[in-house]
């Protein structure tokens, strides 16, 4: 068994190199150059207290907030400790019934016409912080009415919190729901 010695020693050496040195170097560079990103892109309030992350969505159920996408995380929606999707198949009757309920919940708030898919279909991570521009615009009349603001004022806030395509090309234009709702709160 001439090869047993290198097998054990190689395992040990690679553990030191790839499991010790490599993550340590990456952590060092990350913390020195990109501390905000490396620590979770946290949002802080006026007291410097962390109140969430730009990248992790939060649940909003009340009518005076913009609603995020549905979330299928375990225990409760937008549970960061249990990221994941619904894994519902497209032909699953239970899934279609759930979508129908979500569409109905939007209809009772006065929404007519086609519904943007992101507003009634759950995300992959269950933590998706964004909704589409269409999904945000659809909710503007409701928010304006609940908060006694003009629709133009709310639309202005939506515009401010719209992220365009990255480098003008990648991904889709989108709105960060948590940032938008916090901006709403600080206005009224």
């Amino acid at each position: 068994m001439k090869e047993l010695k290198p097998a054990i020693l190689m395992c040990l050496l690679f553990t030191v190199l790839c499991g010790g040195l490599y993550p340590a170097v990456v952590t060092g560079i990350a913390q020195a150059v990109f501390p905000h990103q490396a620590n979770g892109s946290l949002i802080t309030d006026v007291n410097g207290q962390a109140v969430g992350s730009e990248l992790i969505g939060q649940p909003f159920t009340e009518s005076h907030y913009f609603w995020p996408r549905p979330s299928a995380t375990a225990e409760f929606a937008y549970n960061p400790m249990a990221s994941g999707g619904s894994n519902n198949g497209p032909s699953n009757p239970a899934f279609l019934a759930t979508v129908a309920e979500r569409v109905e919940a939007l209809r009772v708030t006065g929404v007519t016409g086609p519904i943007p898919a992101d507003l009634v279909l759950a995300s992959a991570s269950g933590l998706d912080p964004h909704i589409s521009l269409e999904a945000a615009r659809l909710q503007i009349p409701r928010i304006a009415k609940m908060r006694n603001l003009s629709e133009d004022a709310v639309a202005g806030l939506v515009d401010i919190h719209t992220e365009g395509r990255q480098m003008g090309l990648l991904g889709e234009p989108r709105v960060n729901v948590l940032l938008l709702n916090r901006a709403l709160d600080s206005q009224s």
Partner: protein, 595 residues
């Protein structure tokens, strides 16, 4: 209109891939040939130190049996250490959440999963694994399982290049060079880039933050043993709870994310894998992750061409891979854009966004899905279970074909070479000539090994899926009813036997049935082809060179690429069409029939 934009993103990806794979492939050929490179001044002393400590002589050439033995022994040591780590998790450091050890079937499945480059996840990272396990255990395995695959394909290439010798290289040297010169530098760059986009990299405790809007939900009541309590009618008891704050998990994510893509491993730090915003924060990070997945497999075709002394040999294989990639992407993207008639009927507009993240758009999501299943990666940005039926057929088919659309690092190219040998053989039969490939006669031994490499995973998938269908507890694991449930099981075994690791994740995989039989599938699917490849390499190295004659089929020209593509389609369709017809195809037809 997103069409011109989609096209631009897709062409941009392919352009960047070819542009980067070309120099990387040349560089890798120099590394494996032991020639000096621009990294040698820094890394050569480190490499020598490795050999000195381990007692390896870099000129000690191995025959195929010894090469295979070294590879298997190394993997056995890795398996035992990881298994120990998973079971002993609470006794080890860097465990701020105080997570317990894993049950032994789950630990066994996970350990096999990571040594075989599968990275199937029957666990949820954020609530199961400590930082120590993630970094010292899994990150290391991401590197070395990828490097093992690369070493094996390089040994096979040497088999084609060498003439009448008994040796195919030194496993320890190939392994060390793969990690030091290729995987580590690329991962370092990749990880820092991902952090710049928002991927996290820290060893902090999980962060508790207040919710901007608190809300109530029904929480299942648990008894003292932690089992759900039921009311007399058998329904779970719940109590109303108000959530005011949540915990956000932290950890050294970026360093693992980079090697997870570059080594086509695919085991996510979090349960949602690359869909999680901390693993894949922006459309740009997503595009780069797709590029990382495809980069080394694509570059290996160039390495192959350089090493065999005719780069068109590699380019021909690359062309076949590119063609299959474009076709697979086209079908998937078209199907997801079209969504389903049921959703249209409910008034939902736009593509199928169930189980997808908005920031990547359908285009970014679909590029990732094809890349991750055309290789042995298996990281996901979308929940494959929620794809449209024909959309889901694409990743499943790519896996069943043996992951050759760029392929896993190493394993993709050696499987593609096995297909090439079969293509050469079949064409040889047609014209009544002894088939040759790269100047080597293809004889009984090569044919046997090629057939084993290509069919072993398929045989395992079909037998185990069939076994699942007659086992009530395995059927109960399905999350979706009907044909879709069959697809979940088929996908699970396809993914494990081909060392992919992605899942139709609705299936409850953490049961003894799937943990143990899945572990067996992963072992057979990895090591039987790997040893067959080495056996073939040893045989080829011993043959003498046959110069091409008038009767030789040129394998570096377009007609061969076309022929090879046909052979791949025929072998794939003959093996899997019946199973696919009962799963995704029947689901699609019934979906269209209902409306």
């Amino acid at each position: 209109m997103t069409f011109p934009n989609d096209l631009l993103q897709f062409l941009g990806l392919l352009g960047a891939l070819l542009l980067l794979a070309y120099p990387l492939g040349t560089f890798m050929a120099r590394v494996y040939n032991g020639e000096p490179t621009f990294l040698s001044p820094i890394l050569a002393p480190c490499e020598s130190l490795f050999y000195r400590i381990c007692g390896v002589d870099r000129n000690d050439e191995m025959g195929w049996q010894r090469y295979a033995l070294a590879m298997l022994l190394f993997n056995l040591v890795l398996f035992l250490t990881l298994m120990g780590m998973l079971l002993a998790q609470p006794a080890l450091p860097f465990n701020p959440q105080g997570l317990p050890g894993l049950s032994w079937p789950l630990a066994l499945n996970t350990a096999i999963s990571f040594i075989t480059n599968t990275n199937w996840q029957n666990y949820s990272g954020e609530s199961t694994l400590s930082y120590f396990t993630q970094v010292v255990g899994l990150t290391v395995h991401n590197f070395v399982s990828a490097a093992s695959g690369m070493a094996i394909v390089i040994a096979l290439i040497r088999g084609f290049v060498r003439r009448t010798t008994a040796t195919i290289g030194n496993f320890w040297v190939d392994l060390t060079r793969s990690v030091l010169y290729i995987l580590l530098p690329l991962s370092l760059i990749g990880a820092v880039f991902l952090v710049s986009q928002g991927a996290i990299q820290n060893f902090s405790d999980y962060k508790t933050v207040p919710l901007t809007q608190s809300f109530s939900y029904d929480k299942p009541k648990l008894d003292e043993q932690g089992a759900p309590m039921l009311d007399p009618s058998g329904k779970p008891l719940t109590e109303s709870v108000t959530a005011k704050e949540v915990s956000i998990p932290m950890g050294p994510v970026a360093s693992q994310e980079a090697i997870k893509e570059l080594g086509t491993n695919g085991g996510g730090f979090f349960n949602a894998n690359s869909a999680h915003p901390f693993e894949n924060p922006t459309p740009f990070s997503n595009l780069m992750e797709v590029l990382f997945i495809l980069l080394i497999p694509a570059a290996l075709t160039r390495t192959f061409g350089v090493m065999v002394g005719n780069t068109w040999q590699g380019t021909t294989l690359l062309g076949v891979m590119l063609f299959l990639f474009v076709v697979a992407f086209g079908v998937l993207h078209w199907s997801e854009l079209a969504s389903t008639p049921m959703l249209h009927h409910l008034g939902v507009m736009g593509g199928n966004l169930e189980g997808k993240e908005l920031r990547f758009g359908l285009i970014g999501t679909d590029m990732f899905t094809v890349a991750t299943t055309g290789t042995s990666c298996g990281a996901v940005v979308a929940m494959h279970d929620s794809l449209t039926p024909l959309g889901g057929l694409v990743p499943l088919s790519l896996i069943l074909l043996g992951e050759i659309v760029f392929g896993g690092v190493g394993s993709g190219l050696y499987t593609m070479l096995a297909f090439a040998i079969i293509a050469v053989f079949v064409s040889g039969l047609m014209i009544g000539r002894t088939p040759e490939y790269l100047g080597k006669k293809i004889e009984v031994r090569e044919m046997w090994m090629s057939i084993v490499i290509i069919l072993v995973a398929g045989i395992v998938v079909l037998i185990l899926s069939g076994l699942a269908m007659i086992t009530p507890s395995a059927v109960a694991s399905m999350a979706n009813p009907g044909a879709h449930g069959l697809t979940e099981v088929l996908y699970a075994f396809a993914s494990m036997a081909n060392n992919n690791g992605s899942a139709f994740a609705g299936l409850t995989g953490n049961t003894n049935f799937y943990n143990l039989l899945g572990g067996l599938a992963m072992l057979i699917g990895r090591y039987v082809p790997a040893v067959s490849v080495l056996a073939m390499a040893g045989g080829l190295a011993g043959k003498k060179y046959v110069p091409p004659s008038l009767g030789t089929l040129p394998t570096d020209k377009f007609p061969f690429a076309f022929w090879l593509t046909l052979v791949i389609f025929i072998v794939g369709a003959l093996t899997f069409f019946p199973a696919l017809a009962l799963g995704p195809i029947v689901e699609h037809l019934s979906m269209m029939g209902v409306n």
